[in-house]
């Protein structure tokens, strides 16, 4: 029951880590967008830690470091990673939906929705079209 939520927590840890190198490569409005995104991920992480602790299940902690899927060397690769991070996070939240119900389902849906909206925001900033996907979080 809680393993899907533990996976969501692991994804949030990874997202927070990734926004470090992403933020370094961005300036102005984009950097601000990265800071907001990182803060949102921290908020989700904290709620998940609380929830999983209350349930008495496994509460995964953050790894010391994460291997990025590709090197972040400039603004373009930073935006690409931000999109990928949000898409991956959305997928993990989506996978947790069937394992939840009621208020917990609502909060998991918020996790999916927020990640999907941020992915769209990043695609817009990167000038990638289409800026939306029909089924956010669904495995390709």
């Amino acid at each position: 029951m809680s393993s899907e939520l533990a996976a969501a927590l692991a994804a949030e840890h990874a997202a927070i880590y990734a926004y470090g190198p992403i933020g370094v490569r961005l300036k102005g409005k984009a950097a601000e967008q990265a800071r907001e995104a990182e803060a949102a991920h921290r908020g989700r992480r904290d709620s998940l830690i609380l929830l999983l602790s209350q349930k008495g299940g496994e509460v995964p902690s953050a790894a010391a470091g994460y291997e990025l899927p590709f090197p972040v060397t400039d603004e373009a690769s930073a935006l690409r990673l931000a999109i990928e991070i949000e898409e991956r996070t959305a997928a993990v939240w989506r996978a947790a939906l069937p394992a939840t119900e009621g208020a917990e389902r609502t909060s998991v849906l918020d996790g999916l929705t927020d990640a999907a909206v941020r992915a769209t925001r990043w695609r817009r900033r990167a000038g990638i079209t289409p800026v939306i996907v029909p089924f956010p979080g669904r495995p390709a």
Binding site: R94, A99, R105, A116, V117, R121, R124, V131, F135, G137
Partner: protein
């Protein structure tokens, strides 16, 4: 009164009352063949809980298509959203075993095509209502449908982002 009317009157009332009760049972309980009249049609099957989401998706798609046709400079932004709503309707139809209507209703009124922000505002309102419906449907859905409906709710939120 009952005594004055005599037994035949009372029994007739009882028959009427029993018939009414039976009819109620027939409607609410869906017991086919239990109606008083043999030629009474069976009550229609209860609609799938996701049926309103399908008609909602088709309605939203039609709104975006009409707006894109009326305001060409918005077309590039609106057409992918219309396509997403059509994709949602198709997937929901597949999951619920429903056949999508081939002919759509009359295209919705876009409003004053010169008033670009008014057109966008109308779309935002419809999309926001649709997102709320999908959110509610996701929370109420059985586990095996929750991910699909959740994706649709999230997609509608991303549409609002595109309209902002």
């Amino acid at each position: 009164m009952n005594q004055q009317n005599g037994a035949p009157g009372r029994s007739r009332r009882e028959v009427v009352r029993a018939a009414a009760l039976l009819a109620l049972v027939g409607t609410a309980g869906g017991l086919p063949g239990c109606g008083l009249f043999e030629d009474e049609p069976d009550p229609p099957p209860a609609p799938d809980p996701l049926a309103p989401l399908i008609t909602g998706a088709l309605d939203l798609a039609a709104r975006y298509e009409a707006a894109a046709a009326a305001v060409p400079e918005l077309a590039e932004r609106l057409r992918p959203i219309a396509e997403a709503h059509r994709a949602h309707a198709a997937e929901l139809a597949r999951v619920t075993g429903t056949t999508l209507p081939t002919a759509t209703a009359a295209p919705p009124v876009v409003g004053d095509a010169q008033d670009r922000s008014g057109v966008l505002r109308g779309l935002r309102e419809a999309e926001r209502a649709g997102r709320n419906t999908a959110r509610q449907a996701c929370v109420e859905a059985p586990p095996e449908r929750s991910a699909l409906v959740g994706s649709i709710a999230a997609a509608r939120a991303t549409h609002l982002e595109v309209l902002s």
